[in-house]
Every structure is written in C-alpha cells, then in structure tokens.
C-alpha cells in the first residue's frame, strides 16, 4: 500500500498521463519538452504492472494541462494512453489519446532525399494509419512504421 501511494501520489493541479506503452515514458517527457533543466514537478513511473497492458508507464506533470497537439504527439508512441486533467485534486477531465488522421510538424520524414528534409519552406506532414500505427509522408510517400519516437521533431 505504501509503495502504491509513492507511485501515484495525488497531485493538486496538473496532468496525469496513464497507460503509456511501457518504455515510452522518457519519450513522452521529450514530447512535452521536459528535460533536466525544466522546473516543473514531474513524477515518472516505469514498467508498472497493469491489468490491461501487462505493464505500463505513468507520467505526472504538476501545474500543467496538456495542449491538443501535445496529446496528438503522445498518441503516436503510446496509442493507449489516457490523459487525466487534475484541478484541486479532482479529475475534471479524463480522455484517451486519439490518433489524428493527419499530423503536421511533429515527425521528420525518415527519407533523407525527401523535399521536407531540405532548405525549402515546408513543414513535414503525414497521413496516419491507425492499426498498425504507420505514417505516410504526404510529400514522398515514404512510410514510417517502426521507431516513430526517433523521428519526433
């Protein structure tokens, strides 16, 4: 019981991202722009036993409510994640991440010869396939199906 409390200590205000695919918590932090120099109070739990997923990661960020584009990015690497928005210790909103059909400026095309990887004024754009998660570059048609986290901008 004590152990459980340490893992999921309630927060007053902020966001709890639950059911993150095990092993992806650090990438979630990267997406949120949280590094060693940020001042936010952050708790990370990794490889927590979970009924649904077997094991999962959890990230809690205090005093911050996630923006939609941040949630979109998380959905690419953790499609089962749930987002809990907390105010005054209460969950005021709870939703699952939803893979968008298109993403813009989130992932860099893995084809080095793609026009989106040049000095041209162009933002990388992908059409998203849900199951399995696959990204097709709008420009060069190159498909990213593995290691999406490595290509996050």
């Amino acid at each position: 019981m004590i152990e459980k409390e340490m893992r999921v200590r309630p927060i007053k205000h902020g966001t709890v991202i639950d059911h993150i695919t095990a092993g992806q918590a650090l990438n979630v932090l990267r997406i949120l722009g949280i590094s060693g120099t940020t001042r936010a109070v952050v708790s990370v739990a990794m490889n927590v036993p979970s009924g649904v997923l077997g094991s999962k990661d959890i990230v809690k960020v205090e005093d911050r409510e996630l923006k939609e584009e941040e949630v979109d990015r998380i959905s690419l690497i953790a499609p089962d994640a749930t987002i809990n928005i907390i105010r005054d210790f209460e969950v005021i909103e709870k939703f699952r991440v939803d893979l968008p059909e298109h993403i813009e400026g989130v992932v860099k095309c893995s084809n080095p010869n793609c026009i989106s990887n040049t000095g041209e004024p162009v933002i990388s754009r992908f059409a998203v396939n849900r199951k399995p998660v696959e990204l097709r570059c709008i420009y060069c048609d190159h498909v990213i199906s593995e290691g999406i986290a490595e290509h996050l901008i």
């Binding site: 095309c109 084809n111 010869n113 793609c114 026009i115 989106s116 040049t118 000095g119 041209e120 004024p121 162009v122 570059c137 709008i138 420009y139 060069c140 048609d141 190159h142 498909v143």
Partner: protein, 304 residues
C-alpha cells in the same frame, strides 16, 4: 474531372485514368501532325533540375503541336537556382509567366510541395526516386492501344526495387486488377511495402527470377533498364547488370499477340534484332507520350 495538378498516380481513380486515355486517343491525329490551335496563346514552362531528353522533348512537342509556346529554365548552372533560390520561390516566380509548369526535380516530394506554392498547374515529370505519372499514363495508353487493359497478364522485368516507373505502373495496373508477374534478381525485388499495397488494391501478384518460365503465358513484357545511378554501391550494380536480356531465341515460346515495352533508354536489355519482330512496341510507346501529354496539358490548363 478537375485535377489541377498531376503529381502522383495515387491521386487518380480508374475513372480518371480512363478519361485521360480516351482524351489522348482523340489527340493522336494531332500528335501525328494534324494542325491544331487548341492551346494557342498558352505558355508552358519546363523546369528540369535533372537531365532528361525524351520527357522534355515530348512535352515540348505536345505543347507546340497544340499551338502553344514553351519557355525553358535552361541549364541549372546559369539560373537563379545556382544562386541558391528555393524551389518554392522559383515556382512562384515562373507561375507569373507561364500557364502551367512541368517539373523534374531530384528530391522526392518536390512536385507535391511545388503544387502547394503554385497558382498554375504543376505536372510532375519525375521527382527523384518518387513518381513519374506521365510515364505511367503513356505506358497504360500503349497497353490499351497495342494490347488490352482488361484481363491483362503482364510481366514486369528488371529493377523492381529502385525503378520508379515500375512502382507507379504496378500501382495503376492494380486498379485494372491485372495479373502481374514480377521478375528480377533477388537484390532488386519489389519492396514488400509496395507489394502489400498492390495486393490491397486487388492485384494478383507472383514473383520469380526466371523469365523463360513465364514468357509463353503473358500478353505484355515490360522490361526496364537496371539503373546504375540508383545503386548506392557500384559492386552491387556489377553483380546484377545484364541479368535479363530479351533475344529472338527467348521469344520462340511467346504468345502470338505478346508485346514488348521498355521506357527507354535501353542499354543491353533488348537485343537490337528484337526490334524487327512483331513483338516490339517500345518506339510506338515513346510516340504515345505525345498524345498522352497533350491530354494532360489540355486538362491541366482547362482546370487551371
């Protein structure tokens, strides 16, 4: 059909393709020399960032035979591109002069991006290892005119890994539920991701390394050059160069109505003696580029 830009075969439905092919047939007499002023007063700009002779000349021929004018970027070395101008800027400038732009560029996706910046229609004449839709359309037109697109049994031979014409042709043929046999050296087999996509569209696909065993069972033999410039490793090229060669001997067991196609230029894939056989259609194929590009130019300029 209002397709302003012509970028990738993926943008076309089978109905769109049928409309273009029917239109190309109407233009065939003009491509053969009958006078026309259909695009008189219109200007086409050709922007070739990579060398090409056939594609550029056939676009120029198509435009001029329809009574239009052509302006050319000229050599890249002496143009604004050499000064470091982006493609996005070049496109916006040229769009103020011309009614449509034909673009060939070494980067994949260049035409798609150009279309986003252009106020006039962009026709993709090849973007790196990406798409080359006008080649695909003229290939389909050749099959329609010289063979048949329905119930088609076709063998695609050569470099099926790097060859962009073959990928986009195979995609289009899948819309016609063609029965395709893929024949290539093991190192140059069609990528799985493309095969998966073709099957999803309804294509019947089989694979082999042996051309002899299927030659008697196909309507169209489509052979491509193994392109040295697409190989990252010259040693890998040497291993597969000259893997397949069409000779009169090989054609002994061919069907009577077989046709042989090649996007040209050829190196040594087809023995010159084959040119004199009833099977050869590759020079007709290069002619058909003109009526097909006429159809595309007219449709693009009407939409633009």
């Amino acid at each position: 059909m209002m397709l302003k830009h012509i970028i990738s075969m993926r943008d076309f439905s089978r109905d769109d393709i049928d409309i273009i092919l029917a239109k190309a047939k109407e233009f065939e007499p003009i491509a053969r020399g009958r006078k026309s002023g259909l695009l008189s007063g219109k200007i086409l700009s050709t922007l070739f960032y990579e060398p090409s002779t056939r594609t550029r000349l056939s676009f120029e021929t198509a435009m001029k035979r329809l009574g239009g004018e052509v302006i050319d970027l000229g050599s890249i070395e002496s143009s604004s591109v050499a000064k470091g101008e982006t493609l996005a800027d070049t496109i916006r400038v040229i769009g103020n002069y011309a009614d449509a732009i034909v673009l060939r560029h070494p980067r994949e996706g260049a035409a798609r991006m150009a279309a986003e910046y252009s106020k006039v229609p962009i026709i993709n004449a090849g973007d790196g290892a990406g798409h080359h839709p006008t080649q695909t359309l003229l290939d389909l037109y050749t099959i329609m005119r010289e063979s048949s697109l329905s119930g088609l049994k076709i063998a695609l031979v050569g470099d099926l890994k790097y060859g962009r014409t073959v990928h986009s042709l195979a995609y289009a043929l899948s819309l016609y539920h063609a029965d395709m046999t893929l024949i290539s050296p093991r190192q140059l087999q069609m990528p799985d991701v493309i095969k998966k996509d073709l099957k999803k569209q309804g294509a019947v696909i089989s694979e082999t390394t042996n051309l002899e065993e299927v030659i008697g069972d196909i309507d169209v033999l489509y052979i491509t050059r193994i392109q040295k410039e697409r190989f990252p490793d010259p040693a890998e090229y040497q291993k597969v160069a000259g893997s397949y060669r069409i000779t009169e001997e090989l054609l002994k067991s061919a069907r009577d109505r077989l046709i042989i196609m090649h996007p040209l230029p050829r190196v040594d894939e087809i023995d010159p003696a084959v040119d004199r056989t009833k099977y050869a259609r590759y020079f007709e194929q290069s002619f058909y580029g003109v009526p097909v590009r006429m159809a595309l130019l007219v449709m693009a300029m009407e939409a633009g």
